[in-house]
Symmetry: C2
Subunit: 352 residues, 2 copies
């Protein structure tokens, strides 16, 4: 299929908007076509807010921090604008990650099957790394201080895409924060049901994907859920939330500390879910997991080769999963978990 | 555990030889202690040959190729020497990968449980990325032209490690080539038995890990095994080997081409095994896989974020596995497959 052919006929994966030489999917593309006009199966969203991926935001912040520790917020903002202008999407070239957005449906192509109507307030559940995006306000309302970026502009959804209509009973900020990580609890639930009453360790248990994964593991029938956090203050928060059977403190980058802490808390784990967005947690997660167990990597800071070679180097017979952000029904499941689990909701509301 | 404590007492993972600040596993370490003297559970090997990881060798070759396409072999050799001298192990800083080695057991610590005896000829099945290594001959016998590096020096195995005694009935080159990739067929076999008569696509089916994975899928009960190769010459080789039910040609970096070719060959696949060491195959592998299917990534060129975000962006409900190079019994299983499958053996012998 040539580039010109894909442009004439739309493809549900969005290939027709890829401007690169050769055939690559929108996520792998250097640059996307951001024209306003829709292909017949597309949907255009009026964007209100971007929610940058945590690892991406942190990388941008580090890049623009001087030796004295001061962050140049204007430069950070300018870089986000430059990335979106150059690539036609918000994909951090260093981390490869993007984020998500909320907005209002502005136009629906006649052949769209996403079930959306003009005026619906939605969150996109596909990554910004593959979403054609135009920023029209120069990010004038964003102070560069957090991952939540208020803006005005438009974005395009393809035929094969996912967007969730924001629920009426939850604040939009809260719903957005849940939807951003909704793949993790759904996949954790599925995995727990594949074991018999497993011990589950969630590394980064007080965070967004972590706390939802703890609640999902408990709901799915885990025998014991261990929440691992990096320091005492987070441990107190997670204890107070009352969602984990045990709360343990360890630096997840220290493999021996993580192994020992999970073992002391009732491990080794049959399932270890990694939800901390810092590099270098692969070895500890592998060591904390029992033979025949599974490590589920949800952190975008995961290194494929560190995981593969780490397990081999430790002669560890563990299954290692790349955390897929899509599981059918994941949005509804995660929102439901939040509604039913006061402790999770409390942790989320603290962050807003 | 502090660094000094780990140094006094050996740890089966080799932590006592890590020279970095903080606690990191040998694979993640910048630098290892290569002293000759053994901790009680270690084994020292007199090294005869290194077998560099294919992705690593290719990266080194590219780095030292001038605009006219000429490779500076002396510079390539010097870089390998410099890496080993600086890090105390052969780990390519760009690809993160290493390779393996063969040699003869020189000394066995009194507490070693690896079952090795002085004089055994062995291949190490843990990566060079975590194996303390000293090169003593300046790589004088290596012309820099291939991944096989004849040398003289020593390496150290830790308490928790894996080495296979080289079999008597197979040439050492042949056995080494099999052992280098023996995790792939073992994990493919295990995965096939978890499905009912699945359709299996092996991308890179004419290569080492690819051809063994095809044979493993067939032995484990796959309904149909599709071998995908990049061009006609390889297709002819794979056809002649007679191990795949169907041989198909596609550029695995072109997601639409890969999807269409697997579908035309009897797909979509329930299991897609990625064995090609080139970047950018994640999207095609995901698209070639049926909902509920599994993608098994064995290529060290796999990008974690491309896989995770790619599946999410395509709303693809597929399980994605990081290819773990260790499965109990993997060495014996792979050697056995080679002995039993003339077609696989032929493909291997062509490469030696």
């Amino acid at each position: 299929m040539t580039a010109s052919a894909t442009r004439a006929v739309g493809d549900p994966t969005g290939l027709h908007r890829v401007l690169d030489e050769g055939t690559v999917l929108p996520q792998a593309a250097q640059r996307l076509d951001t024209r306003r006009e829709l292909w017949p199966d597309e949907v255009r969203i009026r964007v209100e807010r971007l929610n940058l991926d945590a690892a991406s935001f942190r990388q941008l912040e580090r890049t623009h921090t001087d030796d004295g520790g001061t962050v140049d917020r204007d430069a950070l903002r300018a870089e986000v604008l430059a990335i979106v202008a150059a690539r036609g999407k918000m994909q951090n070239p260093e981390t490869g990650s993007g984020g998500m957005l909320i907005g209002t449906v502005e136009e629906v192509g006649p052949e769209s099957t996403l079930g959306l109507a003009v005026g619906d307030r939605v969150a996109t559940l596909v990554s910004l790394t593959l979403t054609p995006l135009v920023i029209e306000d120069g990010l004038a309302r964003w102070d560069g201080r957090g991952e939540q970026v208020p803006t005005d502009g438009y974005a395009v959804l393809f035929g094969r895409s996912i967007a969730a209509v924001l629920p009426d009973d939850l604040a939009h900020d809260l719903a957005l924060a849940v939807l951003d990580v909704c793949g993790a609890p759904a996949l954790t639930h599925r995995l727990v049901t594949q074991y018999e009453q497993p011990v589950v360790a969630v590394v980064g248990g007080a965070g967004k994907s972590g706390s939802l994964s703890i609640a999902a593991a408990a709901r799915a029938g885990a025998q014991r859920v261990i929440g691992v956090v990096p320091q005492a203050a987070e441990a107190a928060l997670l204890e107070a939330a009352g969602i984990a059977d045990v709360v343990a403190v360890a630096d997840a980058r220290d493999p021996v500390a993580l192994r020992d802490c999970v073992n002391a808390a009732g491990g080794p784990a049959d399932i270890t879910v990694v939800c901390v967005d810092v590099p270098g947690c692969e070895g500890g997660a592998i060591l904390a997991t029992a033979p025949g167990g599974t490590v589920l990597f949800f952190s975008m800071a995961t290194s494929f080769s560190a995981a593969a070679l780490g397990a081999e180097g430790l002669a560890a017979d563990v299954t290692m999963l790349v955390g897929n952000g899509y599981v059918p029904g994941h949005a509804a499941y995660a929102l439901d978990l939040l509604r039913d689990t006061g402790g999770v909701r409390g942790l989320f509301e603290r962050r807003l």
